[in-house]
């Protein structure tokens, strides 16, 4: 099967040091692929490389067989890639409605953007009557909803979700994972970056484990759940 997104032997880093040393992975269409790893394993750097925010020094990134290595971020997004960035990153001084609209900024038709907004508000009815509220004045949980909604406004083929449960209450984390599953059911391919191993493997189809800038284990989620090497690699580095 053709992969949605593929990296081949990626090297990247900041200043002199390489954070990633030869990362290769594949994201299958219609599936949830997860990227696990402790703090500092290189997950965020890899996501930045995929999105053209940090240049790859070596290696290639393919999106639907087309090479996108080191092209400008907005040109990657244009091809149907949305991101729910780490830490939500809602625009604090834009209203909830404007935050959602900006997720569909590439959509020229107002009617289509409006349709999508109705779709998003049906998933998150809590956002519906807060359209005029400034996003910065909402709680962390609400901002998480808004960030997911904003990502969906782009009608993506591939949705990259970076650490969605960071800083959220356990109850909300659970809710978040349910939403991600719903997103997959809509036919959207998901690349999920997480530290929360158990719940992540529960909903994902395939997983990669990153440690010290390299893939140390990968396989189907059920395989990873029982993979002792993965457990060791993961928790060995973690807190």
């Amino acid at each position: 099967m053709e992969s949605m997104l593929e990296t081949q032997n990626i090297y990247a880093g900041y200043d002199e040091a390489d954070v990633l040393t030869g990362v290769s992975l594949k994201v299958q269409p219609g599936k949830i692929t997860c990227l696990l790893g402790a703090n500092g394993a290189g997950k965020s750097t890899l996501i930045r490389v995929l999105l053209g925010l940090t240049p790859a020094r070596k290696g290639q990134v393919f999106y639907q067989t087309k090479e996108i290595t080191n092209i400008e971020t907005h040109n990657i997004v244009r091809q149907g890639v949305s991101t729910i960035p780490e830490g939500r990153k809602v625009f604090p001084k834009l209203t909830v409605r404007e935050n959602l609209l900006i997720g569909a900024i590439l959509e020229k038709s107002k009617a289509k953007a409006q349709d999508r907004m109705e779709g998003v508000l049906s998933i998150f009815p809590q956002l519906a009557n807060r359209g005029q509220q400034l996003a910065g004045t909402m709680s962390g949980g609400e901002q998480a909803m808004l960030s997911i909604g904003r990502g969906l406004m782009g009608a993506p083929k591939l949705l990259i979700i970076d650490e969605p449960s960071l800083g959220l209450s356990p109850l909300f984390v659970k809710e978040n994972f349910k939403v991600i599953q719903k997103i997959k059911e809509r036919g959207i391919t998901v690349l999920l970056v997480e530290q929360n191993v158990k719940q992540t493997l529960e909903i994902s189809d395939y997983g990669y484990v990153l440690a010290q800038g390299q893939v140390v284990a990968h396989g189907t989620s059920s395989m990873l759940k029982s993979n002792s090497q993965m457990q060791a690699a993961y928790f060995g580095q973690g807190e």
């Binding site: 990153k89 900006i102 900024i105």
Partner: protein
């Protein structure tokens, strides 16, 4: 104190307020999207007024144009040339310095301003002296009660207010405006939304510089003369207005512009020596900055462009 000409003082203050606000809006827009101070802004304004002057003189050489047509063409010419200049400055001087300390951008644009200023002085015939600016607006007066208001003055005030209002609406209501505000708040996340960062930055500089050209033409039409170093003074005032309003806030810049003009007007009424009005205005601005270092609107109203 001299109250005899109070109505004329008020009208004069309104014209100045409109011009200052247009300059200040540029400073605040540039700061909003790139966190830079572009000090050549005032000189772009001056260059805009010279561009309009050249276009207008050229048109009168060509033949008999109605004055309104002459004005429209000259104005459009000035705005488009300055928008282009602003874009070029952003692309070749400001954006390449993005990784450098902001002080470098400030310095380089300060020097660019000097270069523009001296270039106009050197290359415009007899450029050191004030140049008469063509009277392109009707000069009849309306008498309202005891107040007399000239039509050209009224047109400048209304036209300037309209330009500011339209810009404000564009920033608040259009897709371009939404993109500009997103880039101002978080450039990286804006790029993740598919926004072309560079294009938005260049567009913002075009917008601000076009508005500066309009302010330059308004200045020429009001005083009937322009001079090569007028931009420096207007630039400093526009910058002070933007800072006192809260750099990055659109409404703050507009309020700051009118506040400065208001202070000058008070100064002019208060002191019999006209030169004191600027001293008075700047002293009050300094006091306000000491009282609210981040500007008047930065905390009350967080509407950073």
């Amino acid at each position: 104190m001299d109250f005899s000409l109070l109505d004329q003082h008020i009208i004069n203050g309104l014209v100045l307020g409109v011009i200052y606000a247009m300059v200040a809006v540029g400073f605040t827009l540039f700061f909003g999207v790139l966190n830079v101070i572009k000090f050549s802004h005032g000189d772009v304004l001056m260059a805009g007024s010279f561009a309009a002057l050249i276009a207008s003189l050229f048109l009168s050489q060509l033949g008999e144009f109605p004055t309104w047509l002459n004005l429209c063409i000259s104005l459009l010419f000035a705005i488009s040339i300055m928008a282009t200049l602003g874009t070029l400055i952003a692309q070749h001087l400001v954006l390449p310095l993005r990784g450098a300390p902001p002080l470098n951008t400030l310095l380089i644009t300060l020097m660019l301003g000097l270069a523009i200023r001296e270039a106009v002085r050197l290359f415009y015939p007899n450029g050191s002296n004030p140049k008469p600016f063509p009277r392109l607006l009707p000069e009849n007066s309306w008498i309202i009660g005891t107040m007399e208001i000239r039509q050209d003055t009224a047109i400048i005030i209304v036209g300037g207010l309209l330009a500011i209002l339209i810009l404000n609406l564009a920033i608040r209501k259009t897709r371009l405006g939404l993109s500009i505000r997103a880039v101002a708040q978080d450039p990286e996340t804006a790029r993740l939304m598919g926004i072309n960062f560079k294009r938005i930055v260049l567009g913002t500089f075009a917008l601000g510089s076009g508005l500066a050209a309009l302010a330059g033409v308004a200045n020429g039409l009001y005083y009937h003369e322009i001079i090569f170093d007028r931009g420096l003074f207007l630039g400093v005032i526009g910058f002070s207005a933007a800072v006192v309003g809260g750099l990055g806030s659109l409404l703050g810049a507009i309020i700051g512009g009118f506040l400065f003009a208001f202070l000058q007007t008070i100064g002019a009424i208060w002191f019999s020596v006209p030169a004191y009005k600027d001293v008075f205005a700047f002293v009050v601005i300094i006091m306000i900055m000491a009282w609210r270092p981040t500007g008047l609107l930065s905390e009350i109203n967080s509407d950073r462009v």
